[in-house]
């Protein structure tokens, strides 16, 4: 690493001391005048290849241990909850399709979501209601949270694995509920 400037040291200390990912505004509030963005880039370079890394998650930054050291650090007790298959799929659908309603999730999975599935994901802090779809009934829409990006190590939703390929293949098109429901839940009576 190059010998750091006082400003760089200050940004480094604030990032290091924070108990959660910090935004540029928060950093600036602590360190005062200076180019925080440039300092972040310099720090990211300084730490590249070390045992700890500076990473960006949405519009927040944090230091975390390098991923390839996971096997050395993994704690005895598994603190990360194992998601059910239904919850995993639901989370993926929300992440790749957001904002998305419960009915749209059900149309993609072809099965109703049980009451607890969304609760589990909200409880984990990974999804949240993001608004309402302006259709009859004004159903809630769901989307992911900043904590989702932090937990799964994504800089932004654009980094979701394979999202560009899926989009190109037309698999992320908005769900046409009218057609899907016709096909699955309500077969034509005259058929």
């Amino acid at each position: 690493m190059t010998p750091p400037s006082d400003f760089l040291r200050a940004v480094e200390a604030v990032l290091f001391a924070s108990d959660e990912p910090v935004s540029i505004d928060t950093i600036r509030a602590h360190v005062g005048q200076g180019d925080v963005r440039e300092a972040l880039e310099q720090l990211a370079q300084d730490y590249a290849g070390r045992g700890i890394e500076l990473v960006r998650r949405g519009d927040r930054w944090l230091f975390q241990t390098a991923g390839d050291l996971a096997h050395l650090l993994r704690r005895q007790r598994e603190e990360v909850r194992r998601l059910s298959r239904a919850a995993t799929e639901t989370l993926a659908i929300i992440a790749y399709h957001e904002p998305v309603t419960r009915a749209e999730i059900e149309a993609i999975r072809g099965v109703q979501i049980s009451r607890g599935t969304l609760d589990v994901l909200m409880d984990a802090g990974w999804i949240r209601p993001t608004g309402r779809r302006e259709v009859p009934g004004r159903p809630l829409t769901f989307g992911t949270t900043p904590a989702f990006l932090v937990h799964f190590g994504l800089e932004s939703r654009r980094d979701l694995p394979g999202i560009e390929d899926l989009r190109a293949a037309g698999l992320l098109e908005p769900v046409d509920l009218a057609i899907e429901q016709l096909a699955v839940e309500k077969p034509d009576d005259d058929a």
């Binding site: 604030v14 290091f16 001391a17 924070s18 108990d19 910090v22 928060t26 509030a29 602590h30 944090l62 230091f63 975390q64 241990t65 390098a66 991923g67 996971a70 650090l73 993994r74 598994e78 603190e79 990360v80 998601l83 298959r85 239904a86 995993t88 799929e89 989370l91 993926a92 659908i93 992440a95 790749y96 993609i108 999975r109 072809g110 099965v111 109703q112 932090v150 937990h151 799964f152 190590g153 994504l154 979701l160 694995p161 394979g162 899926l166 293949a169 037309g170 698999l171 057609i179 899907e180 096909a183 699955v184 839940e185 309500k186 077969p187 034509d188 058929a191």
Partner: protein
């Protein structure tokens, strides 16, 4: 295929679409190249077997079976251009739905396999924490100060209350007056008629208030009847009939 195996399999499906996807996967080709007809056939066989084994199938499996049976017949029979929708398009749509479910399933698995915070990567174990100490900058203006002092002074300054001597009609006087006058009133008479004729405005006000209370008291005693059509309408009195 044995019945037991079938039971176990059915328990594992997350709905009819999941079952269809598994059957499609068994064709061991790209989802975009599966044979929808073969798939429909497999599904229907599956559901039929479950039925003959008297397994209880959730309604949505049966709904899907009915729809697939329709799709199959539509695909096999010569196309009637009058019939909506185009069966080829329905088949394509089904294939797309399977592709989409498969994509989301795989995406979920890839998501879960990432370096996850608290499992694979860790934040600092004992961060010092960032703190914000709030300090107040108090603000007040000179007018606030002056009016506050004015309030205090006014509140605590000795105040002399002077009650002006004025003509009033007491309740007792009003009761006596109405009791005396009502005997001669056969018809409903407005309460104002019972007030002294030559009273000034201040005395009239007092007399009206006292007479009203007097009327209520006499009515309670059964010595007078009251009548008012609606709130704020004139109040009428008469002797009990």
């Amino acid at each position: 295929m044995s019945g037991e195996q079938l039971t176990l399999d059915l328990d594992g499906w997350e709905g009819p679409l999941d079952l269809l996807l598994s059957l499609a996967r068994a064709q061991k080709v790209d989802l975009r190249e599966i044979s929808i007809l073969a798939l429909v056939e497999q599904y229907l066989v599956y559901v039929e077997r479950a039925r003959t084994l008297q397994l209880e199938l959730a309604a949505d499996y049966l709904v899907m079976a009915a729809w697939l049976a329709y799709l199959k017949s539509a695909l096999l029979l010569p196309r009637d251009p009058e019939v909506e929708p185009d069966p080829e398009e329905l088949a394509l749509r089904l294939q797309l739905r399977l592709e989409r479910l498969a994509a989301m399933r795989e995406a979920g698995a890839r998501l879960m396999a990432r370096d996850r915070l608290g499992r694979d990567v860790f934040t600092r174990g004992a961060p010092e924490g960032l703190h914000t100490a709030r300090t107040a900058r108090w603000s007040a203006g000179i007018f606030d100060l002056m009016s506050a002092y004015g309030q205090v002074s006014a509140r605590t300054r000795p105040v002399m209350h002077v009650v002006h001597d004025r003509e009033v009609m007491t309740l007792d006087a009003a009761i006596a007056r109405i009791a005396a006058l009502i005997g001669t009133a056969i018809d409903w008479t407005a309460i104002e008629r019972f007030l002294p004729d030559h009273a000034g405005p201040a005395l009239r006000r007092s007399a009206l208030a006292s007479s009203f209370l007097a009327a209520l008291e006499l009515a309670r005693q059964g010595r007078v009847e009251l009548n008012q059509r609606a709130p704020f309408e004139p109040l009428y009195l008469r002797a009990p009939v």
